[in-house]
């Protein structure tokens, strides 16, 4: 090994080790690919193949008559997309509505999660007694299994025996007969539960980002008489910009795609106000047994998110460079 790691000296002294030289040149060439291969293979298996299959299914007339031999399903061409995009029809109209609700849900969840995460991260930036306990406590919702966390919310939000109604009526705020999981309140409940799930991630990321802001900057600012808010606006925010760029994108994509929260909260019976897109696609596929149309909806969702990502990244990067 020692000789092969110093091929140049070997080559300079004797002609013999020159035969070994190609091997040592080769190593850096193929080794990275070999090391990457397992990851690539699993990426292919877990993401790319199901995705391509989904795109393929979106062009099939895959109904109950063909689920058993789905490769024999007749081609639908762009027919499924036509159905999904016909906004005058019930399917297209409800898909469009679901997109609108999902956008509203995503913006609310994103803004609240980020604001809460930022607030907590800044609050815990300076050492004080009990800081580690608070940090751990804040991460609990993120560490809990989704199902366990959300099912507890479902119980708490129940109308008759739920804790939320008991608390609100105990405090004299409501009469305790509010439906939190029906009608328009269902939207608010979904946002609250999603924020509860998501904000610790924003907190964690921002806390890590804040570690890289040098303490002297604040000391200097404090000497110059800058207040907390001024420090936050002039130093903290700009220095967190690279972190925020990624964090906001990830929060956006996760909220937009959130399946677990509405599914566990509502099960089969999702109220119209909380009809988020991923659960809408799932229900559309299983209610009508038309997996072609369901897949076409998925592909549309994919395209929308790709476009948003493609626009967001260059825009936010440019802003970062300009800053």
């Amino acid at each position: 090994m020692a000789t092969s790691t110093s091929p140049r000296t070997g080559r300079a002294q004797t002609p013999r080790p020159a035969r070994r030289a190609p091997r040592s040149h080769l190593a850096p060439g193929w080794l990275p690919y070999v090391l990457l291969a397992p990851a690539l293979l699993f990426e292919l298996l877990v993401h790319i193949i199901p995705m391509v299959t989904g795109i393929f299914i979106s062009t099939l007339e895959l109904t109950q008559f063909y689920v058993r031999r789905w490769l024999d399903a007749p081609s639908a061409g762009v027919g499924n997309f036509k159905i999904a995009l016909d906004f005058d029809g019930a399917i297209g109209a409800s898909l469009l509505r679901s997109f609108g609700i999902t956008f509203a849900f995503t913006i609310c969840t994103l803004a609240l999660s980020w604001a809460l995460g930022m607030f907590a991260a800044v609050l815990l930036q300076r050492p004080f007694r009990g800081r580690n306990v608070l940090r751990t406590l804040f991460l609990v919702p993120y560490a809990l299994p989704v199902y366990a966390g959300v099912i507890v919310w479902k119980f708490m939000l129940g109308r008759d025996n739920g804790m939320v109604n008991a608390l609100l009526s105990g405090l004299g705020i409501t009469d305790g007969s509010t439906f939190w999981l029906l009608g328009n309140n269902a939207f608010v409940s979904t946002v609250v539960v999603a924020v509860w799930r998501l904000w610790p991630f924003a907190f964690l990321t921002l806390m890590a980002g804040l570690q890289s802001v040098p303490g002297e900057v604040y000391e200097a600012a404090a000497v110059d008489g800058a207040g907390m808010w001024q420090q936050f606006r002039s130093f903290t925010l700009p220095m967190l910009r690279p972190v925020n760029q990624v964090l906001l994108l990830v929060l956006f994509l996760w909220s937009f795609n959130d399946f677990n929260v509405p599914y566990i909260l509502f099960g089969q019976s999702v109220p119209a106000s909380a009809d988020l897109i991923s659960i809408h696609v799932y229900q559309a596929s299983f209610i009508t047994w038309n997996f072609g149309v369901g897949s076409a909806m998925s592909v549309l969702l994919l395209l929308v998110l790709l476009v948003i990502t493609a626009v967001y990244l260059p825009l936010s990067s440019r802003r970062m460079r300009d800053a």
């Binding site: 058993r68 159905i83 019930a90 999981l181 009508t288 260059p314």
Partner: protein, 441 residues
């Protein structure tokens, strides 16, 4: 720069693609190994999944003793049974034998996943003649060999609390729909959270069943003779209003019932003294008793019918409800599976199982057994033979249940939160359901 956008886009693509497209993943079941094992999916007939297991396990042991075939049992709740069947059909990773809701017979038949019952198969399970005629009516589409045989017989009836009726001075169960509404109003005291009636407003299957029977009473059908959907027929709108009206205009059902996803929630209202009546299938009796009521505490009557009937209306107060058994065509142990079907539909097992599940035998020999001559079961039996109609045996049937049932669930949600849907709202909901179904067919 470009490279970064691309790689982030790739990550985004992966993140986006993984959720909805992968939603029809397969489950962990595998076909039985060889001739000595069968995989059996049972539906939830008892008071809980565990209760089903307790009831079935000794019978399966009996079957193993007789034939040497071991049966691996899995009990599947109703809200996921249809999906599990679809997944199994798609993946081929399926049980050998399973229970299905008899109303899905034609829909599942259309997938081609189940073994058709021709003369040979009927012979293998003990002959077609042993089954009751009504029960055979819901085993598959007309003109094709059925892909299921009856297993348990069910029908709807009106359950009422004798104590609450007596307290209100009502001596007999209601005879007409108008009587029912009057009695229910008399029994309702919203301030005390006591109601005349309760429903499972978030159960799409229950909702669809009532849409069907009340539509029939109002002279409407959900499908014409050619199998084309006619959801928005004015009789169907009236039928839906008849049922939804219990909560919206008659105000005899607690708004909370809009959140009940299962019949067990509804029965809990009844046994807990919160509601005096509910409309349920005969197997509700098992749950009522396990909740602590005794047989003397409640009575059963046929669900009252509109009187006089609107023009074209039919005297229907139940669908031909029940559970069927099917065999997966791809099973590597079809013979063993048929032997198991024969066992489960044998007169002896029919008496044992239907008694425990509170359902009705589907074979004539068991039907006449003394165990099924109780007052209540006689009522269900007469409903089944006289005023029950089969749900349409067409491939779209399961989609009718999901689209109409979910539209009604949404309407219940709106009623519970304070709006009273008018006829045009109900018609719009049915129109939406019909379009969704047409899009899927």
């Amino acid at each position: 720069m470009r490279r970064r956008t691309f790689s982030t886009a790739l990550i985004a693509t992966a993140a986006v693609g993984s959720v909805p497209l992968a939603s029809c993943s397969s489950d962990d079941s595998g076909s039985g190994d060889g001739a000595k094992t069968l995989k059996y999916w049972a539906s939830n007939q008892g008071t809980s999944l565990d209760n089903d297991k307790e009831i079935l396990t000794p019978e399966l042991a009996k079957f193993e003793q007789q034939t040497g075939i071991k049966v691996e049992l899995e009990v599947i709740p109703w809200d996921s049974l249809l999906q599990r069947i679809l997944q199994a059909t798609t993946s081929g990773d399926a049980p050998d034998v399973l229970n299905i809701g008899n109303t899905w017979s034609a829909s599942l038949q259309a997938t081609g996943a189940f073994l058709p019952f021709e003369a040979d198969q009927y012979t293998a399970v003990g002959g077609k003649d042993k089954f009751l005629e009504t029960s055979l009516g819901s085993t598959g589409a007309e003109g094709q060999p059925p892909t299921s045989v009856p297993l348990y017989g069910l029908a709807y009836g009106l359950f009422y609390s004798k104590k609450m009726f007596a307290d209100a001075g009502i001596t007999t169960p209601p005879a007409t729909w108008a009587d029912l509404v009057t009695d229910a109003k008399q029994l309702t005291d919203a301030a005390a959270d006591r109601w005349g009636m309760t429903v499972a407003g978030a159960s799409y299957t229950e909702n669809a069943h009532f849409a069907f029977m009340f539509g029939k009473q109002n002279g409407a059908e959900f499908f014409d003779d050619a199998g084309k959907p006619t959801f928005t027929d004015s009789g169907n709108v009236k039928g839906l209003q008849q049922y939804l009206g219990l909560m919206s205009t008659d105000k005899v059902v607690s708004p909370s019932a809009a959140e009940h996803p299962t019949t067990n929630d509804m029965i809990a209202d009844f046994t807990g003294g919160k509601a005096a009546m509910f409309m349920g299938q005969n197997n509700s009796e098992a749950t009522i008793l396990s909740n602590g009521m005794t047989a003397a505490d409640y009575g059963v009557a046929p669900i009252p019918i509109l009187d006089p009937l609107p023009s074209g209306g039919q005297r229907v107060n139940s669908h031909v409800a029940g559970i069927n058994m099917s065999v997966f065509a791809d099973s590597d142990n079809v013979d063993g599976a048929l032997q198991f079907v024969k066992f489960m539909t044998s007169p002896e097992e029919q008496v044992i199982l239907n008694q425990k599940f509170g359902s009705l035998p589907v074979v004539a020999e068991a039907s006449s057994d003394a165990a099924f001559q109780t007052e209540n079961l006689k009522i269900f039996n007469s409903v089944l033979s006289e005023t029950a109609a089969p749900l349409p045996m067409i491939p779209n049937e399961s989609q009718f249940e999901t689209t109409v049932g979910q539209a009604m669930q949404d309407l219940f949600g709106r009623i519970a939160t304070g709006t009273t849907p008018g006829d045009s709202d109900v018609e719009a909901a049915l129109e939406g359901a019909q379009q969704k179904m047409a899009g899927g067919a």
